[in-house]
Symmetry: C2
Subunit: 362 residues, 2 copies
């Protein structure tokens, strides 16, 4: 049969860049002729990039965020401008499940060695080591996946969100591996040959003073965002009326009950400027026992299936929707993660992962 | 961590029987430690069974089913009692999208050679060859998958529906491969090593007199059933109030618009006795361009996601639900299929598959 109106299928490429393509020992979920129902893109990092680094640098206090905490965040921001600092830095805010306000800097590097030098130089200042006990908390959550342990998906190729700010190679063409459950795994270069099964459990010491959480192998992290800054009024009404309430319910479930399904921690954050003024952009950030647990939630849990249904209806009702979606996933080895907390409440981020230790999980 | 209250995980086995297990060249979607969220079972056929045969023997007339058509169906039923006839035979009825009533005999064999002898002997009588043009239509849709091209899934191990009536080996223990998208493929023994990509298109001749549809390689068939005969009143109200309307909408979509997504034909049938009196049991029977097209519909199409959501809510709201679910899937080579129609309307079963020939599909 004719292959399409133009005589040829539109050019379609793999999310996996050529230099990270190896002979698969693990099969993709779709056949070579699979064509996704709508276009999506990945970002391309320079070939020389062996690891990315994403660091979340947070401060917290009881709501509203204290001046002292804000000043601490400003200090972290300044440190990001120093030698070997991140290529990209953003702000976001969120109020967590214990009613604490958190202000966060999200910083990206495409050079793990530069990050290493920077972090060694500034770790004490970032986490507040050696300072008097303060009225606020500080926390660092950082991970440095190999390029082959990282994948991205964007609904638009003009949306420099998150990791896309670091991608000198800009966007891919339309990719094949999306629009089906399992496509996340099929986009991960490392999953061409590895099952990515988790090994071990996190070790969470008592929460006093500065504490470090020791993570485990093949923990998975997702940052999943939405930007409504370009939406028309009718699209906005539909997004906030129908989609966002489901998204919020799913995020709340992960934050408060995620432990039951392998989610160690979740934050539903809003992008902001340095003064804490929110932008028209939000994202979820969550940490998982395994990529498989994340897959199961996405495809089967009522809270995410409800999000999926709402998003499908939204896209059907809003032709040419200008809502922009982004997604970054990392699977990291034990030594590619760093979690440290100073004077934070007991469920801050992965510090609360003790909740997630499930019977029968190991 | 402790493996469970009893000290050991419950015994869990593969849906793939030991004698059909080979070294995988294609990976399962879940890891070895995956535990499904609720129990399900497959049926076990005797090791000597190389192929199963499932034949749908139908008659049709404009509603209500004519006496002549009923008599034709009775004749088919009698033929099933002859030498080399099926091990199991059932009745079902449905009114199709053109307002025709169909009465159908569903017959199973576990011996393709016996079926071959029986069919050769009785084909003319079944399809009405040599008879005067009649006021009713007759049709035969039969497929004979290899045992390794067939998989089953049952919510209960006390539910002798469909292929389970043929399984001398009765039920498996609790199987691992269910409760996630892609588990259907993971249960198919042949998918341990084959991608099951379709090849070719069906050839549908003009519809006059007796016509045979020539199918293509790796066509996929699903029979998916529900039995509410054991349900309490409250469960019944929930099933017919919340679940069945979504199921009906999904079945209607496949019947009338399935062509757009690779579904050649669908019937939503109700089990019945020989007089056409309906039982408390229904099933969908559909024919697909490929297993992959079936997968995409199940996991992503709004009509099936709505069914999935409704079913999840139903099971949450009805603890210990007595609704029993069954599922049989076959992937068949070109010569393992037989479709023949005499005096049937133009969209009867796979005779209507011409609608499904999609641009770019080959």
């Amino acid at each position: 049969m004719a292959p399409g109106p133009g005589g040829l299928e539109p050019a379609m490429e793999s999310s996996i860049p050529a230099h990270l393509t190896v002979k698969r020992t693990r099969t993709k979920r779709v056949g070579e002729n699979y064509t996704p129902p709508y276009p999506s893109y990945s970002v391309r990092f320079a070939e020389g990039v062996s690891n990315l680094v994403c660091a979340f640098l947070g401060v917290q206090s009881k709501q509203p965020l204290s001046r002292e905490a804000k000043a601490a965040s400003d200090g972290m921001w300044e440190l990001c401008a120093r030698d070997d600092g991140p290529i990209s830095r953003e702000h976001a805010v969120h109020t967590d499940e214990q009613g604490f306000d958190n202000q966060v800097i999200i910083a990206y590097w495409d050079d793990a060695e530069a990050y290493g030098r920077w972090f060694q130089e500034h770790r004490d200042a970032l986490i507040g080591a050696g300072l008097e006990p303060a009225g606020h908390g500080r926390w660092i959550e950082a991970f440095a996946p190999e390029a082959r342990g990282f994948e991205t998906l964007y609904s638009s190729n003009t949306f420099p969100e998150g990791a896309a700010r670091v991608a000198t190679g800009a966007y891919s063409g339309e990719i094949q591996e999306h629009g089906y459950w399992g496509s996340m795994r099929d986009r991960l270069p490392i999953a061409q040959t590895e099952a990515l099964e988790p090994a071990g459990d996190p070790f969470i010491p008592d929460n006093s003073g500065i504490v470090r959480v020791e993570p485990h192998h093949n923990l998975a992290v997702i940052r999943s965002g939405q930007d409504w800054s370009l939406c028309e009024d009718s699209e906005l009404a539909s997004y906030f009326g129908d989609v966002e309430p489901q998204l919020k319910a799913g995020m709340d479930f992960l934050t408060t009950e995620g432990a039951s399904i392998g989610c160690y921690a979740n934050r539903y954050m809003t992008s902001s400027d340095g003064d804490g003024t929110v932008l028209e952009q939000s994202f979820g950030l969550s940490f998982w026992h395994s990529l498989e647990d994340m897959e199961r939630w996405a495809e089967s849990h009522p809270t995410h299936v409800a999000i999926f249904m709402a998003a499908m209806k939204f896209l059907q009702a809003n032709a040419g929707a200008k809502l922009r979606l982004s997604h970054e996933v990392a699977v990291v080895s034990r030594d590619q993660q760093y979690y440290e907390y100073n004077n934070c409440h007991s469920t801050t981020g992965i510090l609360g992962a003790g909740r997630a230790l499930r019977v029968g999980h190991a």
